[in-house]
């Protein structure tokens, strides 16, 4: 199991990564078509719902939220891993993040973009959504800043724009590389424009370093705040099963969890598709898997904390709701959430599986399934079993419209991500170079070779 070579020629790095930007294979187009078809399904369902009314989603009067909100949280959560890898690990100088953080950040951006869609899908009058935007308007009415939903909007806007900027800034040196190596064409023009005339001068690098670090510092609290605000949509409400103080950390943990799982999935896919074995090496996979395992245990713990706090909270209603999840109509989903979220990750504890690609692939998918279920189990049971017994509903089952739109959202994400991978280097070239460079320096020093041998001649 070999890690990334220190003596790898930098030219090769450029060549390999740029290779991933070249004209795609047929499989790409097939995938792309599938993705577009999925989006089509979603769009069709949304159109139907938009015209006919939310009723076709088969929500009912006590039970006013459904899969849209659940998926919204899911996608928001997914976005957190990018920040984790690029920001947190960057501050920790964990150099193994370097080959993989780029696509993680892309994932962050795109899952945020997907989550954003669900806001519109969920609204009863999506065409009036601008009422929720705080701008001086002729109506003289401002949105209600007390509503956690508005905090959401604000937080997500901040997060989305910041992570786009972060992604872009981090990509500038690589864009310059693309510019330098592209034969003339629209792509070259594009990269030239985006590279902003970067030439890697000392001045540029100096400011670049500081900026990158600063934004990383901002992103960490931001990411945490984003998901704790999403959590407060529920924790700030009065409903049993939602009004729980442990929700914000619980949500954040869940977010990182699903994010890491998604990274593993994409890691494996990219590694295979772009033949990035050189860079996305097994030791790196092992590290993420271990990280994911750790987080999964944190999540499990918080899950238990929630139950414990409810249990000792002496609120019969909250208790009732909790039991309803375990034994009520939602029981099958709740238990499969526990299975996927807390049992499956145990596999990751075993060395021999940590680098077993097929198994990790399946596991990562299961984890994400579990995380999606978790979000659903947070939203729905409370409605089905709230404070007021008279209105408990018996048969709220999401209609094909809800399922269709959720399905479509995955297509949408895939679409964006595939586009990105073909347009921008999904592995950060300059940072891989830094990585191997510093490693080589380290080994040299260790070997005590004092004569400045430079780096492997070629």
């Amino acid at each position: 199991m070999k890690d990334i070579r220190e003596d790898i020629a930098w030219a090769k790095i450029n060549k390999d990564v740029l290779h991933s930007l070249e004209n795609p294979r047929k499989m790409f187009w097939v995938m792309l078509f599938v993705a577009i078809a999925m989006v089509g399904v979603g769009v069709a369902c949304e159109a139907y719902q938009y015209i006919t009314g939310m009723g076709v989603a088969n929500m009912d009067n006590p039970h006013v939220w459904g899969l849209y909100i659940a998926s919204f949280i899911f996608w928001i959560g997914m976005s957190h891993s990018g920040t984790l890898l690029s920001a947190i690990l960057h501050l920790m100088h964990a150099d193994w993040r370097k080959p993989i953080y780029r696509f993680a950040e892309a994932m962050t951006t795109f899952s945020l973009m997907t989550a954003g869609l669900f806001v519109f899908v969920h609204l009863g009058r999506a065409w009036q959504v601008y009422y929720a935007i705080p701008y001086p308007n002729e109506r003289g009415i401002w949105p209600n800043f007390q509503s956690p939903l508005l905090w959401d909007a604000m937080a997500i806007f901040t997060y989305l724009s910041s992570s786009i900027l972060f992604l872009y800034v981090g990509m500038i040196p690589d864009l310059a590389i693309c510019r330098d190596n592209m034969n003339p064409g629209w792509r070259k023009k594009l990269y030239t424009a985006l590279a902003l005339g970067w030439e890697g001068t000392d001045r540029q690098w100096r400011n670049f370093r500081v900026t990158y670090l600063t934004i990383a510092c901002f992103l960490i609290p931001l990411a945490v705040s984003v998901h704790s605000i999403v959590a407060s949509d529920f924790a700030m409400s009065q409903q049993p099963g939602w009004h729980i103080t442990s929700f914000p950390p619980y949500f954040v943990a869940g977010a990182l969890y699903s994010g890491c799982a998604a990274i593993i999935t994409l890691f494996i896919i990219l590694r295979y598709v772009f033949r990035f074995e050189e860079y996305m090496t097994l030791p790196i996979l092992k590290k993420i898997v271990r990280l994911t395992f750790a987080i999964s245990m944190v999540w499990t713990y918080l899950n238990m904390i929630e139950m414990a706090s409810v249990w000792y909270g002496h609120d019969p209603v909250a208790k009732d709701t909790l039991l309803e999840r375990m034994y009520g109509p939602y029981a099958p989903f709740w238990w499969s959430m526990i299975f996927c979220g807390s049992i499956v990750p145990l596999i990751m504890a075993f060395k021999r599986f940590q680098t077993n690609i097929p198994i990790m692939f399946v596991v990562s998918l299961l984890l994400n399934l579990g995380m999606w279920l978790e979000r659903w189990m947070i939203v729905s049971p409370t409605f089905a079993h709230g404070y007021y017994p008279w209105t408990w509903d018996h048969d709220q089952w999401p209609s094909f419209v809800q399922w269709g739109i959720v399905f479509g959202s995955f297509g949408w994400f895939t679409l964006l991500f595939m586009g990105f991978c073909k347009l921008f280097p999904s592995v950060s070239m300059y940072e891989v170079k830094e990585m191997v460079y510093h490693r080589s320096l380290a080994t040299k020093a260790a070997a005590g070779k004092l004569e400045a041998a430079g780096k492997g001649a070629h």
Binding site: P316, V317, Y388, P389, W390, T391, W392, D393, H394
Partner: protein, 733 residues
């Protein structure tokens, strides 16, 4: 006594369509029928018509026969909402849900709009009124009075008088007044016990009300009036809150509000009554003799009511006087219904309530206007005649026997034997569909009329019915106008001075101006005033009340043994808003949940959970209910408020016609009733049908308002309850 804090100033706006308004009819004043937005051209608007200001017209509710006075809110010439008229002693400004839905009868999209000749094509061809009248004249030509039959629902007032005159013009005696669910047996029993059919009862004066299946809060006699008495009864006189004990086999709305609800074995109400007389031990003479046999042991064995419960009741009745004992539909619905009712009335008499809480009612001094109250014996009579093919021409008005008559009576087939069938109808209901000629009627809010309520609350009153707005459909006619035209066919001379029914009414009123307290008032003033009041209050004459009917000939059969083949008693329950199904096509009523089961838009069968467990039936199972005379398939609802040996299916649903809101919703239990009749009165014994229940294997989700918690509060203080000894009413306002 009620808080009718309704703003008086509103009532300055209350108007009657004055003499001038009579002209409105023809002059194309309304453009409603060609669907234009402007109902009234404001160029020539009447002075009371101010845009955006509501005016109120007083009239009478025609949703049922209780005769509540309504006051319709009219804006821009459209009636929007019906309120109660505070001046009426009957409803005192209140109006039940059924009454509220009157506007949906008026605006109903499925009303008949043109005269239809239905011979030949099933859909029927549209004809003109002239043609229709000519046709009737032709068919009546050379037909003797005996060969004509007129079937109507309950009738009163001038319409009844005019009707009488019309029938007299043939020397026809065959006026059958039919009501599918009427307290006919109780009327007869009352006649015997008290000397009058419908005495005034004063729930609010009683300290204890013992009701044997009289659903006086839901559907019995005059619920709107009784509900208000009930409210006062609960407040009680000097803080002594009234106690309600309800004895019945299936919990009615009244039972649901009782302090003690006793599930009695079906048909043994009378036995319990005698048992209580026995337990009181105050009876003397033949009464004492009659009840001697009814000791607690036997009574509680027969009725299933525990001995100590009987004692408690007796004790309470002794301790708190006056009390009031009521005999209702649950008691009368058996072959021995009359005896049940008699026994129950006897209890009243023993308790000395007669004259205290049961009083003589005032009656209108015009016998020809007095209500002809319907019953089922009448239908039986008509049916026999039809079966024998006695009638060449059959008129039908305000009755739907094809829907409400038990299939066992074969009414539909017998009706076909009549040569020519005319139906005066608002909708194409089951009966109208069998008619050869269907004549479209004005809605209750478009028509003129007078009504004399059967139950007189205080003093005597005649209710005026006047149009609340212009006709919606140009080609509908008022029943009065139709009758008038028909009478003219016979006696043109006597009636030619009446241009229309309005003229007839006005004239009739002015003739008796003095009697109506209009002595020396100018005609127009008096008339307009009468119309704007909507009620004419009369001195009326108080009938004599007798309280010495003994126990003579009072024999009660022992409870029927369980029939092995048909083990269960079918109780067709009367829903307070759907009743016999004439209002089922009003969506508000379809969607307003049944108070006890909260089920909407469908029928159901109520089964006691214990019984259901025996039969392996769960909520939502489609079960087949089979009697000797047919079967129905309906969803099951587990209902604790019913005797385990009985099941109950609500009446009113299961229409096969009558428009989009009624057709195809639920089942019609009338169809499977056994044709068993009360021995004395010949009334259909509604509760005498025995059935068996079997699962069909299908299952549905019951459409109801109640959630899966099924009326449990899960330990929350949502609808708590206190025993009287824990409450201090004196502190209350």
């Amino acid at each position: 006594m009620m808080d009718s804090g309704f703003d008086r100033r509103e009532f300055l706006k209350v108007l009657g369509w004055g003499g001038t308004t009579a002209a409105l009819g023809g002059c194309g004043f309304t453009s409603m029928e060609d669907g234009k937005e402007t109902v009234v051209s404001y160029v020539e608007a009447k002075d009371y018509m101010i845009p955006s200001i509501s005016v109120y017209f007083n009239s009478t509710c025609t949703q049922c026969d209780m005769g509540c006075s309504i006051s319709g809110r009219v804006r821009e010439g459209r009636v929007l909402k019906l309120e109660g008229n505070p001046e009426s002693a009957i409803n005192r400004g209140k109006l039940c849900g059924l009454g509220q839905a009157g506007v949906q009868h008026h605006y109903n999209p499925d009303r008949v709009r043109e005269p239809l000749l239905r011979t030949g094509s099933k859909s029927g061809e549209t004809i003109t009124w002239e043609k229709a009248y000519a046709l009737i004249a032709e068919k009546l030509n050379g037909v003797s009075g005996e060969e004509i039959a007129f079937l109507t629902g309950g009738m009163s007032g001038h319409l009844k008088a005019l009707m009488g005159n019309y029938l007299d013009s043939f020397g026809c005696k065959n006026h059958f007044v039919y009501e599918a669910i009427a307290p006919a047996v109780v009327r007869a029993a009352n006649k015997k016990s008290y000397g009058i059919e419908m005495p005034r009862i004063s729930i609010h004066k009683a300290k204890v009300v013992l009701s044997f299946g009289a659903d006086f809060l839901g559907s019995w006699v005059s619920p709107v009036h009784f509900s208000q008495q009930y409210a006062q009864f609960r407040k009680g006189v000097n803080g002594q809150r009234g106690v309600l004990i309800q004895v019945e086999s299936k919990m009615t709305l009244t039972g649901a509000n009782a302090d003690r609800w006793l599930a009695v074995r079906p048909g043994t109400e009378g036995i319990l009554a005698l048992g209580i007389i026995n337990a009181l031990g105050t009876a003397t003479g033949d009464i004492a003799a009659a009840v001697k046999g009814y000791d607690k042991a036997r009574v509680s064995k027969d009725t299933g009511v525990s001995a100590e419960q009987i004692d408690k009741i007796a004790a309470l009745l002794k301790a708190r006087t006056p009390s009031l004992v009521l005999a209702g539909s649950a008691a009368e619905g058996y072959a021995h219904g009359s005896q049940n009712a008699a026994a129950i009335n006897l209890l009243n008499q023993v308790l000395g309530n007669v004259g205290k809480t049961v009083e003589a009612a005032a009656t209108v001094p015009f016998p020809q206007m007095a209500p002809a109250s319907g019953n089922t014996a009448a239908l039986q009579g008509l049916n026999k005649g039809l079966a024998e093919g006695k009638y060449k021409v059959l008129f039908n008005y305000a009755a739907n026997p094809v829907f409400t008559a038990p299939a066992a009576m074969k009414f539909k087939d017998n009706m076909a034997k009549a040569g020519f069938k005319v139906a005066f109808a608002h909708y194409l209901d089951e009966t109208a569909l069998q008619a050869d000629l269907v004549l479209p009627l004005d809605s209750g809010l478009e028509d003129w009329g007078t009504h004399v309520p059967e139950y007189m609350a205080e003093g005597a009153q005649i209710n005026i019915q006047q149009p609340l707005m212009e006709k919606i459909h140009a080609n509908t006619r008022g029943m009065g106008d139709i009758l008038l035209s028909l009478v003219k066919q016979r006696r043109a001379e006597d009636y030619k001075k009446y241009a229309d029914y309005y003229a007839y009414l006005r004239d009739a009123f002015l003739k008796n101006k003095d009697a109506f307290g209009g002595k020396g008032i100018d005609d127009d003033v008096f008339w307009d005033d009468t119309l704007s009041k909507g009620i004419v209050k009369l001195a009326g004459s108080i009938g004599a009340l007798s309280a010495k009917a003994g126990a003579a000939g009072l024999t009660l059969p022992a409870p029927a043994a369980i029939d092995a083949q048909f083990p269960l008693q079918l109780i067709p329950s009367v829903n307070h808003s759907l009743r016999d199904g004439r209002n089922t096509n009003q969506p508000w009523l379809q969607e307003s949940p049944d108070p006890l089961t909260t089920i909407v838009w469908d029928s159901w069968v109520e089964i006691h959970p214990k019984k259901a467990a025996e039969l392996g039936i769960a909520e939502g199972d489609i079960v087949e209910i089979a009697s000797k005379n047919g079967s129905i398939k309906v969803q099951a609802y587990l209902f604790p408020g019913i005797h385990p040996d009985a099941i109950s299916v609500p009446l009113g649903r299961g229409h096969e016609a009558m428009g989009r809101y009624a057709k195809g919703y639920g089942v019609n239990p009338f169809q499977i009733l056994d044709a068993v009749f009360d021995k004395e009165t010949g009334e259909l014994a509604m509760h005498e049908t025995r059935v068996k229940v079997s699962k069909t294997g299908q299952k549905v989700i019951v459409v109801k308002d109640e959630g899966p918690a099924g009326g449990r509060q899960m330990g929350k203080k949502i609808a708590p309850r206190m025993p009287t000894d824990k409450v201090d009413f004196s502190k209350e306002v």
